[in-house]
Amino acid sequence: MATGKPLADVKVLDFFWVLAGPGVTRSLADYGATVIRVEAAVRTDPARTVGPFKGGRSGPETSGLWWNNNAGKYGLTLDLTKPGAKAIVRDLVRWADVVTESFSPKAMRAWGFDYESLRKIKPDLIMMSSCLLGQTGPLANFAGFGNLAAALCGFYNFVGWPDRQPSGPFSAYTDYIAPRFGLAALMAALIHRKRTGEGQYIDQAQAESALQFLAMPILDTAATGKHYSPVGNFDVNYAPHGLYPAAGDDRWIAIACRTEEHWQALTDLMQRPELRRDERFAGLAQRQNNRDELDRLIAEWTVRFDPIATADRLQARGVPAHVVATSADMVADPQLRHRQHFVEVEHGTLGRTWIENSRFKLLRTPARLERSAPAFGEHNQLVLEEILGYSEERIADLVAEGALG
């Protein structure tokens, strides 16, 4: 393709909101798709109200979460209670190859924008619906955020200490799994359409995608009745294995020894060669059995040093180790710099903002990051005039009607 943009011919009308859906269309925009992100004029996308905020000050345009999830998309605001707004949507459906939405299942039907209605406008349309638990079933209309789906899936039970109530994964865990599967499903549908001309409907239950990541305990419990409970940072394949305190405030280093070579190198660097002859630590099983004492000894050593320096020393000996990275560590990480993980791009009202790069690299046709997320209604005029070819008069009528909010 002459443009070097893999998805240059893909046009997306994007009603996704919050996190799980917009993560999919962000990837499409990275690789050249034209994505028109519709925002309800009367209802703020929650992603705009969650930080990190520029300068620590919340506001509709200052959320790094919003920038990151919607970079490269065009922003259009609509009040879907207005007939003029519905007419715009119908025209955009005619323009689009893909329509996405992540409302609760009843919402699109209520607006008359369900798949059966939209395919009458555009027979080869691909439509993707993404909601917590799917379009059918007794809980289909149970709406909410990824923490609710993560709880129902059972993720909370796998993050915790044995002597305490589960701590749980950070925030809305299923929202960070679903976009990856959503992208694969949508790309498969686009490939099918390009080869056959046939569109289709995709029902993504975010929980059903996320549960792929719990396949192991699901297989095990279903087959053997094994009950899983929190185990802290224990892992059956490693010892020592854990997060150890380092010099500084809330600084930690991760160390994971899988082989005897790892153990030997660690004890060398600790200058405790006698531990290798200590029968309490002879072999993986013994090190696991006596892990409280082992972890105490390692912590005595790690707490004296900077975690990045210790990790470098361990890595130089081939031992898996890394600082438990904070945002400041990520920004300074030479590997993430090498990969240009953080990039600064134009924003409609703020000048420039930082976003994270595409999570993967296509080496011949790299992601092109040209813009941050749209400011509220930033591209209303561009969409109506340049994409839909509306006249100035018609646009003025729509504004007067309040169709754009």
Binding site: S167, G168, M187
Partner: protein, 412 residues
């Protein structure tokens, strides 16, 4: 559907899920294993604690919808056979430490000469190059390096990992989407390319953009059991109820405030709070806290009202109320609860597949998405070692005699 596509899956345990996703979407995925079986087959834990090449839970979980071919890539004859297959393949998936494939003569530069349309997917801990490209890794190391671990756990102890390994599942799922973007491009250009997926970068999505905090001078997010701390603000997401734990959201702002209003209105209707709390403007409440107009103690006192309401009710009562009134509450589930959940049953989500040993059926998580015209199908249980050698070599035009000879030489 990808049923016209052939995938050569050379991944070790870092990349199993990528090929499985392509297989779920219909591709013919050939898992290429060394003659003794993939090392991932020997990875504990095992079902019923019984080691065996077909009994590793990790192997079983992420190798359905694949065929198995054994091939010794350390030897020239093995590599030559692979190269013949590359000429007819659409995707090659690998997850070796950078440089290893070049040592084998199976790097992208070499294989793309045999098949310029090949989409060559590399899944590694930190990427194909850069100062950490050869860093030793593990699930724990990558979760630490991606900025996610520091956000999880109890504030008075070390951060906490999810005890079911996740790092390479994030990376491998991304790799599948990335591979399909490259394939879509190929439909127009007839050219393949290399896709470079670094687990460290891939996982960052699970940090909810907190990685940007230092760059934009934002308020730091810190870990807290069952929630998070935003500066001095403690945001609980896990609460005690009468018979266990639930997750519930009690926040503010234009998007989340209306949900708090619904929750507080309900509590008020049950006599659980006073009129002043009912009449609080939850949309603007957060701004008043942050400006110092209201002390943080006011939020903590209101959290106590919520806590008392939740503590007096069971998981099931609360989940019913959540459904009736649109509240953001759900019970924390065990795997047993999950398997009994009527929603997944009603959608026929759980998929039985026979165990490769022929033992009792295994229960798999079902399709990751429902595609109306090209539905995901679970066509093949995980293969036994070399189960499909004969049919795959027949497709290459190699008959039984050649197969026997390769077997004698230990190539397959």
């Amino acid at each position: 559907m990808l049923n016209h596509c052939r995938v050569l899956d050379l991944t070790n345990e870092r990349g199993f899920l990528c090929g499985q996703i392509l297989g779920d979407l219909g591709a013919d995925v050939i898992k290429v294993e060394p003659p003794g079986g993939a090392p991932g087959r020997r990875l504990p834990p095992f079902l019923n604690g019984q080691p065996g090449l077909d009994n590793s839970i990790y192997w079983l979980a992420f190798n359905r919808n694949k065929r198995s071919l054994t091939l010794d890539l350390e030897r020239p004859e093995g590599r030559e056979l692979l190269q013949r297959m590359v000429a007819r393949a659409d995707f090659l998936l690998e997850s070796e430490t950078p440089g290893r494939m070049a040592e084998l003569g199976l790097d992208y530069a070499t294989l793309s000469r045999l098949n310029p349309a090949l989409v060559y997917v590399s899944i590694t801990p930190f990427g194909q190059d850069g100062p950490k490209a050869h860093y030793a890794d593990s699930d724990l190391i990558l979760m630490a390096a991606s900025g996610v671990l520091i956000l999880c756990g109890d504030e008075d102890r070390a951060p906490l990992r999810m005890s079911v390994p996740q790092a390479y599942l994030h990376a491998s799922a991304d790799a599948a989407g990335a591979a399909l973007i490259a394939y879509y491009e190929r439909l127009g250009s007839d050219r393949g390319q290399q896709v470079d997926v670094a687990a460290q970068e891939s996982i960052t999505l699970a940090g909810q953009s907190t990685a940007l905090t230092a760059l934009i001078d934002g308020e730091e997010t810190r870990r807290m059991s069952g929630g998070a701390k935003l500066g001095a603000l403690r945001v609980p997401l896990v609460w005690k109820c009468r018979d266990g734990l639930v997750t519930a959201v009690f926040l503010f702002g234009s998007a989340l405030g209306p949900f708090s209003k619904k929750l507080v209105d309900y509590i008020h209707s049950q006599g659980g709070c006073d009129d002043a709390m009912k009449n609080t403007d939850w949309v603007g409440y957060g701004a008043r806290l942050l400006s110092g107009e209201l002390p943080l103690a006011d939020y903590e006192q209101k959290q106590k009202v919520i806590a008392n309401f939740l503590a007096a009710r069971t998981k099931s009562e609360l989940f019913n109320l959540a459904q009736q009134h649109g509240l953001l509450i759900a019970p924390l589930s065990t795997v047993e609860d999950l398997l009994a959940n009527p929603q997944f049953k009603a959608r026929n989500y759980w998929q039985p597949m026979t165990h490769p040993d022929g033992g009792p059926a295994l229960t798999y998580p079902g399709p990751f998405a429902r595609l109306s015209q090209t539905p995901i199908q679970y066509r093949r249980r995980p293969p036994r070692v070399g189960e499909h050698n004969r049919e795959i070599f027949a497709e290459l035009g190699l008959g039984d005699d050649a197969l026997i000879e390769l077997g004698h030489k230990g190539i397959i």
